[in-house]
């Protein structure tokens, strides 16, 4: 295990010297690790977009801002438990509490938003719920502004400063996989796997797939469509809540405008992977993270968004339905 990053970096380094003038093998390998963590965060939010789109073809614009409110809730819980300053050792119990509260908060809020702002518009022209979602997004942003004010907020540094690569290889290098990366990746993967399991193996998951394929037919078969859609919003919200705590602990900051940029990236990831496709959203998120890190490593910080969005354009030109293909309701 210990030598694998080195081999990888050597092979990668030679191959990429041509396309990547700014990076050495070590830098590229280090960038890949960072990109993976950044991407896992994007992926969790992207899944929220894709789940909802897959089932009712609504781009839920408020999802990024829901995530932002989640970071505020997580921070509030941590502060209430007395951990608003850098603390070590890590207060794991408090983190679990913050995670659970943020997830439940985002889940319920998302369900309520669907119930109040989207459900009545379900059979209206598609533009109506979209605009309603933008409205909800503005409400969230302003709640955030009112709640914590306009200045960026610093999260306490709670995770241990432990580097796995250093512990295994015994040497310090730029390639770091520290507790923060482990926390993000180690939480994102089980969450995504669990989501996949729910969709594939539970009765509710089956109902979700049925509603996604053909809402009317599902209704005729006795599926409670309203409940299934509420459940979908709940799942998206839960993941956003989890991503919120992870973002706070990993990046150490939040601000009430966070949802806009995070939402844009996540939405891009969802489109990249094929909107409506859960695996695609996860893949798109990770790809976006990796690509961002690679662009910075190879060409410089000012090119990050140029690199990311150029790839998006290229992929959509050749594969308009995203990498893994769209999965949207069939039309009768």
């Amino acid at each position: 295990m210990g030598s694998r990053p080195c081999v990888l970096s050597e092979v990668g380094g030679r191959a990429m010297q041509v396309v990547c003038p700014g990076g050495s093998g070590e830098l590229i390998a280090a960038g890949l690790v960072i990109g993976l963590s950044n991407g896992a965060l994007i992926a969790l939010i992207a899944i929220g977009y894709t789940l909802v789109y897959g089932i009712i073809e609504l781009i839920n614009f408020s999802h990024g801002d829901l995530f932002m409110l989640g970071t505020f809730v997580a921070l509030t819980v941590l502060a209430a438990l007395g951990f608003d300053q850098n603390t070590s050792p890590t207060p794991w119990l408090a983190l679990v509490a913050a995670l659970v509260v943020a997830m439940i908060f985002c889940g319920i809020l998302n369900v309520l938003a669907e119930r109040i702002a989207y459900r009545r518009l379900r059979n209206a022209p598609r533009l109506a719920p979209l605009i309603s979602a933008i409205g909800v997004s503005f409400i969230y942003i302003n709640v955030g502004l009112f709640w914590r004010g306009p200045t960026p907020i610093t999260f306490p540094d709670l995770l241990p400063n432990f580097d796995f690569v250093e512990a295994i290889t015994g040497t310090q290098s730029l390639i770091r996989f520290n507790a923060k990366d482990a926390f993000v990746v180690g939480m994102a993967i089980p969450l995504m796997v669990a989501l996949g399991w729910v969709i594939k193996n539970t009765k509710m998951g089956k109902a979700m797939r049925a509603v996604a394929q053909d809402r009317e037919a599902a209704l005729q078969m006795g599926v409670d469509v309203d409940r299934v859609i509420s459940f979908t919003f709940l799942l998206g919200g839960l993941l956003a809540g989890a991503a919120a705590l992870m973002h706070g602990l990993y990046n150490g900051n939040t601000v009430f405008t966070l949802g806009f940029t995070a939402g844009l990236k996540a939405f891009t990831a969802a489109v990249l992977g094929g909107i409506g496709n859960v695996t695609g959203a996860a893949l798109g998120g990770v790809l976006l993270g990796l690509l961002g890190a690679m662009t910075v490593t190879c060409y410089g910080g000012e090119w990050e968004n140029v690199g990311v969005f150029s790839l998006l354009v290229i992929i959509l030109v050749f594969r308009p339905t995203g990498l893994l293909g769209e999965q949207t309701p069939e039309r009768g």
Binding site: G22, A30, G31, G35, P152, A293, T297, G301, E304
Partner: protein
């Protein structure tokens, strides 16, 4: 349905006319006396708020001391905001709107601001064509005034004064061609071994300053190992790794706290704990130290002027008065804001009966000579509207505060 919309529009337009007629009601009545107005335009949202709030306090303080009255004129002051909730930072469209608002309100005789040089580039041309004086307590980008300064575009500064309109813009702080250069010389003094990695936030101010630093670093034979944009991001870990791999022992960052400059420092320190970091007045605010946390300790900041903690004599007296009135400590640009308002008031006083005439006020402000305010030394504006003060401070962050280290030349 289609007919209703034009009718609604007509009603709205009529209402707008009525409203604007009301607003125009307070025009000064020709000769001496009446109401004149001074506005400021600063970002009143986002990470700069800690600083800009104190600046508005200082403006108000200056006007309150004269009871908002000069001769027969009553002065009205309004603090405009050039930031938008979405950006949490100054915004091009908002700054242009503020400038046009000022042009349209004929009572307005002076425009104090902006905080950001990029914003000044937007409003100077608009105000210039209306003969409206603009005076900034905080802009430091050389290209706004200085021809041929290092790191500026060949078309600068003329493009800010379109159609050869008469220069209307001045600033009471020294420009960055000094700040970037003294930064490079200070770094040389402190010693560079591995080299310096230059980072900027991809904005007019940040990149301009980085270019000035770069030019002087070359003159000083400092080894440059990298030069790169670091626009706002949630984390800068990839970039920090690059810096660490480059062998640099110094990073020079010219950018803003609002662009997460403090988090950049945090990530740099995490990637290479021995890295030394020098930055500029754009991060000289307490929010920066909060962002960077422990990584801020011992880092170097250059600043045009002297920080409040090192005030003696007249500036100290002023700072004590400020503290007594507003509670908190003045930030680095607070005293310059007070001085700015004082320059405007002096011009209005000198104008006498012609205080409502924009061109008169503009010429008086631009012609400020041997001014004795609260900065502790006499100064003048040169023909380009730049101050004759060249004092720069080198500060070191200690115990979460900016501590004056030495005067830089």
């Amino acid at each position: 349905m289609t007919k209703r919309i034009p009718r609604l529009l007509a009603i709205l337009t009529a209402l707008a006319f009525v409203a604007s007629a009301c607003a125009g009601g307070g025009l000064p009545g020709g000769g001496g006396g009446g109401t004149i107005k001074v506005v400021s335009s600063l970002p009143m949202q986002g990470a700069s708020l800690g600083q800009t709030q104190t600046m508005v306090n200082a403006f108000k303080m200056a006007f309150e001391e004269i009871n908002y009255k000069v001769g027969n004129f009553t002065i009205e002051f309004e603090a405009l905001d050039d930031a938008t909730p979405a950006r949490q930072n100054w915004d091009t469209a908002k700054e242009a709107e503020n400038a046009r608002k000022a042009v349209d309100d004929k009572r307005i005789v002076a425009y104090m601001g902006t905080y950001n040089s990029g914003a000044a580039a937007v409003s100077i041309p608009i105000l210039c064509q209306a003969n409206l004086a603009m005076i900034s307590p905080a802009n430091t980008y050389p290209g706004l005034t200085k021809k041929g300064a290092p790191g500026i575009e060949p078309s600068e500064p003329d493009k800010y004064y379109p159609g050869g309109c008469k220069r209307n813009y001045s600033r009471v702080v020294p420009a960055d061609d000094l700040q970037g250069a003294v930064g490079a010389r200070w770094m040389k003094e402190l010693g560079v071994s591995g080299g310096v990695y230059i980072l900027h936030d991809n904005e007019l101010y940040g990149k301009g300053l980085a270019d000035v630093f770069r030019a002087e670093a070359k003159n000083q034979n400092l080894k440059e190992v990298g030069y790169e944009g670091a626009p706002k991001a949630d984390n800068f870990r990839t970039l920090a790794n690059k810096v660490a791999a480059s062998g640099a022992d110094w990073v020079y960052y010219s950018g803003l706290t609002a662009n997460n400059g403090g988090f950049l420092l945090r990530d740099l320190k995490a990637a290479k704990s021995s890295i030394k970091f020098m930055s500029v007045d754009g991060v000289a605010e307490s929010e920066f130290i909060t962002q960077a946390g422990a990584a801020a300790e011992g880092q170097y900041i250059t600043f045009g002027g002297i920080p409040a903690s090192a005030y003696t004599g007249k500036p100290k007296e002023w700072a004590d008065k400020y503290k007594a009135k507003y509670g908190g400590n003045p930030e680095v640009y607070t005293i310059y804001s007070y001085e700015t308002a004082k320059v405007v008031i002096a011009a209005i006083q000198k104008a006498g009966d012609k205080a409502a005439d924009r061109a008169t006020i503009r010429d008086l402000i631009m012609g400020t000579k041997d001014f004795e305010g609260v900065l502790g030394q006499k100064w003048s504006f040169n023909a380009e509207g730049d101050t004759t003060i060249t004092t720069m401070a080198g500060m070191i962050i200690k115990n979460k505060d900016f501590i004056f280290s030495k005067e830089l030349k």
